[in-house]
Symmetry: C2
Subunit: 334 residues, 2 copies
Amino acid sequence: MTRRIIFPAVAIGAVLLGSGASLQGQGDPLPSWNDTAPKKAIVAFVEKVTKEGSPDFVPPSERIATFDNDGTLWAEQPIYFQFAFAIDRVKALAPQHPEWKKQQPFAAVLSGDKEALVASGQKGLMKIMAVSHSGMSTEEFARIVAQWFATARHPRFNRPYTDLVYQPMLELLAYLRANGFKTFIVSGGGVEFMRVFTDKSYGIPPEQIVGSSAVTKYQFAPDGKPELLREAKVLFIDDGPGKAEGINTFIGRRPIFAFGNSDGDQQMLEWTAAGNGPRFMGLVHHTDAEREWAYDRKSRIGKLDKAWDEANAKGWTIVSMKDDWNTVFPLANQ
Amino acid sequence: MTRRIIFPAVAIGAVLLGSGASLQGQGDPLPSWNDTAPKKAIVAFVEKVTKEGSPDFVPPSERIATFDNDGTLWAEQPIYFQFAFAIDRVKALAPQHPEWKKQQPFAAVLSGDKEALVASGQKGLMKIMAVSHSGMSTEEFARIVAQWFATARHPRFNRPYTDLVYQPMLELLAYLRANGFKTFIVSGGGVEFMRVFTDKSYGIPPEQIVGSSAVTKYQFAPDGKPELLREAKVLFIDDGPGKAEGINTFIGRRPIFAFGNSDGDQQMLEWTAAGNGPRFMGLVHHTDAEREWAYDRKSRIGKLDKAWDEANAKGWTIVSMKDDWNTVFPLANQ
């Protein structure tokens, strides 16, 4: 695998995202998708809702497409990438906190004791999130996250985390936009964490990212300029039922197209399905242990159980990564 | 005044909003603005940031413009229009609540006792907002609000409230969009109240409305379809410092252009001003008692005091409604 370029996925993404319209003219807009049922369902849906005069025609302003991020647009194993950031941040801050060597969950992070880390539970997780995600201005946080993306490497692939976006989904985003859709991310991840890379990686601008958020506090920095301090208080959790609520509060329109991969996306898909007119609901099923990972009902991360049952019962589209994608990551063939 | 058409402002707005680009070709894009300093400052700013190759050029993706709503895009006297809705809603619900005749603040609303209503204070206000704005699904709420707009009349002008949008601001919104700006509303008003009319009246789609919001709860209606129940709990107050915080959380980019009219907009303007590169900060000063209203430092609604001082100190643009606008409302000349 090459590591010459720091953000190769970005460059590839940009080419794709910028040329969605012309891709169609050049032939297949979804070359990384096999010609199996999911691709056929996507293309049939897009052709149906964009055909003027058809009873299924949807005006461009209502072509809202929402995507989960972790496990749907990029990988989420062995741990959510934002949590990998939080762990690295604790390590980076440790020299200023000698007391952490004896305090959980920090001691577990610093000694690499996974068992003790898991044992610290939700409370431990919140402490790690607090020290890594609050107490700084929003601008400082964005700088810290950008710096992490530039240097951190995924443990299995030894590549920047942003290389682990899914090539078929980049193509799908571009295809939808070329057909007048407005693409949004609706993720349980932190909105300010995502905004650092989502515009470059997916072509989705900051104002189209819905995520979990912290309370911020308007104040004046020593230089007299206003800043927003990130506090260790949750404003909104955009997961499960929160995804339907977040779509309503932040977007204010019901999607006609939604894609997820886990039970955390179930309500977003239900909310999408319950609108009038044509609808598309999709799930990525992680079935490819060789190229990516294979997990579903028993997984601690990205558990796909109830949403899978509902998808089967209601005929939603289920994408098997192994069978339906001929390429997973943008650099797979390099 | 004519009342033939229910939403004449909408029709006029639509014509304007749809033809922003061609207006420029046809001459003055801001015909309702006198050729005074504010108009010159607006045009100079827009020409500067859209001139490719200029050191002040701003790429379209960063041309974010945010507008307050009450008192900036439409009138806000004698009471915020959303509060007029709440009062009318209390009256409409009263037959189902005979106990309200003896309970404040409801008794004050039903008997028209303004003094008792004011005396009920913030607590009374919250009770009125709770019964009028919560306990129903988001879809039901939108239907109630739309019905109110179709029938309610402003007490002074005896016209639909949506007729009281400002013609010069409709032109400004269209002018900015024709020049590649993305226009947002950032208002203390309820986001779901605004979304009922803002697309039609201003050409600003639901996903570009930032406002105050209630907590909603995902649940299943008796027909088995999911719905979002509006609860009597505040999620976010988008006013004062909350406007800077809301811009960051909901939009995720700093505006380069912002317009307000009161102290509730001060932090939005400061936040806009504190970014790098060219910036435009504007305030509407209500100076026209004849055509609209005249109020500032002493007003209970739309108080303009500290923001006015800061605007004067920092050279922000102050629009005198009387001197700088030759037309106030779209139907003024009919």
